[in-house]
């Protein structure tokens, strides 16, 4: 059964200076003067606290919106949930197939044809070649790209490229779907088709986590929201309340 459980998860990013980024400097030791200065300012181990003591439990049926200003830790949390950042502190348990739709063009090659790209994108998402080939008819119908699919993707317009990436990326139904901002694409007509397709996908997944700044999108897709601030979850509750809480905080700041 799909679930995600975070217990006391903290994520720190080491901040490397030009000095600590180099092997030579690290092995030979920092020059003495430099070392003294770094120590005296108490910055020996410089790191950014991206997430602090996050506890979270996601169950089937959860449609979670992530709210927070830039730098609050939304993207980092999504990456922890996807398994990319394995926590050094705290624990992550999850069950089910996770898919992150953060970069829907990942694995695509502009010099390859549309058909090749369907297969490449499919394999990058974890399909077998055969399963990826099986996507072709539905992608053909959805994108309406016709003969363009036989041409290298570099000849596509931005909208066509997005349509193709979108079509393939939304063809695979995971148990847990993670999104950083809603993916929307192309002209008005395509946008409504895209909306139907993403609605269909979201209905089928067991858990959705969606980070967004758009209140309308959050309200229409989510049934639970987390407000993040400085790497902490400061509120966990219904979407309306969370949005109100967040807006109030922002208002106070201004």
């Amino acid at each position: 059964m799909a679930h995600i459980q975070l217990t006391g998860v903290s994520i720190d990013f080491p901040v490397f200076t030009a000095r600590s980024r180099g092997l030579l400097n690290t092995v030979l030791g920092l020059p003495r003067r430099e070392k003294a200065r770094v120590e005296s300012s108490g910055l020996r181990q410089v790191s950014v606290h991206a997430l602090r003591d996050v506890n979270l439990s996601l169950r089937p049926g959860d449609r979670v919106g992530l709210i927070g200003s830039n730098g609050a830790g939304k993207t980092t949390l999504l990456r922890v949930l996807s398994g990319v950042y394995e926590p050094m502190q705290g624990e992550l348990n999850f069950g089910g197939r996770v898919a992150a739709l953060t970069d829907i063009m990942l694995g695509m090659d502009v010099d390859a044809t549309g058909y090749d790209n369907i297969i490449m994108r499919g394999i990058v998402m974890g399909l077998t070649r055969r399963q990826a080939m099986d996507l072709i008819p539905s992608v053909e119908t959805f994108t309406q790209l016709g003969e363009h699919l036989q041409l290298p993707v570099r000849t596509y317009s931005q909208g066509m490229l997005l349509r193709l990436a979108f079509a393939v990326s939304t063809s695979v139904v995971p148990d847990i779907l993670l999104m950083d901002e809603m993916i929307g694409a192309g002209d008005a007509q395509f946008f409504s088709q895209a909306k139907d397709r993403i609605n269909g996908l979201i209905e089928q997944v067991s858990i959705l986590v969606l980070a967004s700044h758009n209140e309308v999108i959050l309200k229409s897709f989510c049934n639970r929201a987390l407000v993040m601030k400085d790497g902490r979850i400061v509120m966990d509750g219904p979407v309306d309340e969370a949005l109100a809480f967040h807006n109030l905080e922002q208002g106070v700041l201004q």
Partner: protein, 249 residues
């Protein structure tokens, strides 16, 4: 084996990409290499006073293999750095990227390997090739290459000067590794250059079967020793940094 579908495909696609950009793709590089090998091979034979039908295959095999080692080391360092978009989106097993690099470099090397076979055929030495020993040597080289790529990839992700340092190191290694010259030409006192050079070790391991002789037991032993050492470093490093790599990208 660790998302083999993914790395086989990605490695293969890296090669296919080059074919897509130009019609001849890597074959073009093969032509270049062939031209260089024939040109220098004939001159080198005169310079070092070896018969051309011995020196040309010797240099040819050396050049192709050294190019392979050099690609493995230089591109190995970029293994994780160049795949950051993938690593930041999906928790692929880290080793998949190592295999991808080794796979790609090997496929590209096999393009040039055709020249080696052609030169051996021309020199009438194709019949002397010790295929069994060559297979064994290739497997050992692949094993060593996999560990090396993994170690360098992790190191270079953390310390960004490693990539640059390796680039210059490999340029120098070309001259201290017997690619152009033959170890016998060195004086007794300078032999350590070859004996302490792991690149020379694996080069000889693969080149001597091509030249018709089976490597000595001490060569096999030394290669095994290097592999064990690399394996040890690899496991130690893998346990220590496997989870941290993504944080460094």
């Amino acid at each position: 084996m660790l998302a083999w579908r993914f790395w086989c495909f990605m490695g293969w696609n890296d090669v296919a990409k080059q074919y897509r950009r130009t019609f001849l793709g890597p074959v073009w590089i093969t032509f270049n290499t062939a031209l260089f090998i024939v040109a220098f091979g004939l001159i080198g034979a005169q310079l070092f006073k070896y018969p051309a039908d011995w020196y040309l295959p010797y240099f040819c095999a050396g050049h192709v293999l050294f190019g392979y080692f050099s690609a493995l080391i230089n591109e190995g360092a970029l293994t994780y750095i160049a795949s950051d978009a993938f690593l930041k989106q999906t928790p692929y097993p880290k080793m998949a990227f190592v295999f991808r690099t080794v796979f790609r470099c090997t496929i590209l090397m096999l393009h040039s390997a055709v020249i080696v076979l052609a030169v051996l055929l021309w020199a009438g030495r194709l019949g002397d090739v010790q295929w069994g020993a060559l297979l064994g040597a290739s497997l050992m080289t692949l094993l060593a290459a996999t560990f090396t790529v993994a170690i360098l990839g992790g190191l270079a992700a953390r310390f960004r000067d490693v990539t640059v340092a390796l680039g210059s190191l490999m340029q120098v290694s070309f001259f201290v590794t017997p690619v152009l010259w033959v170890p016998d030409q060195l004086t007794e006192r300078a032999q350590w250059v070859v004996h302490l050079n792991p690149l020379a070790l694996f080069l000889e391991l693969m080149r001597s079967p091509l030249m018709g002789s089976v490597p000595s037991p001490s060569s096999w032993g030394a290669a095994l020793g290097v592999i064990l050492l690399l394996a040890l470093i690899f496991f130690w490093q893998y346990v220590a940094i496997r989870r941290r790599i993504v944080y460094w990208l």
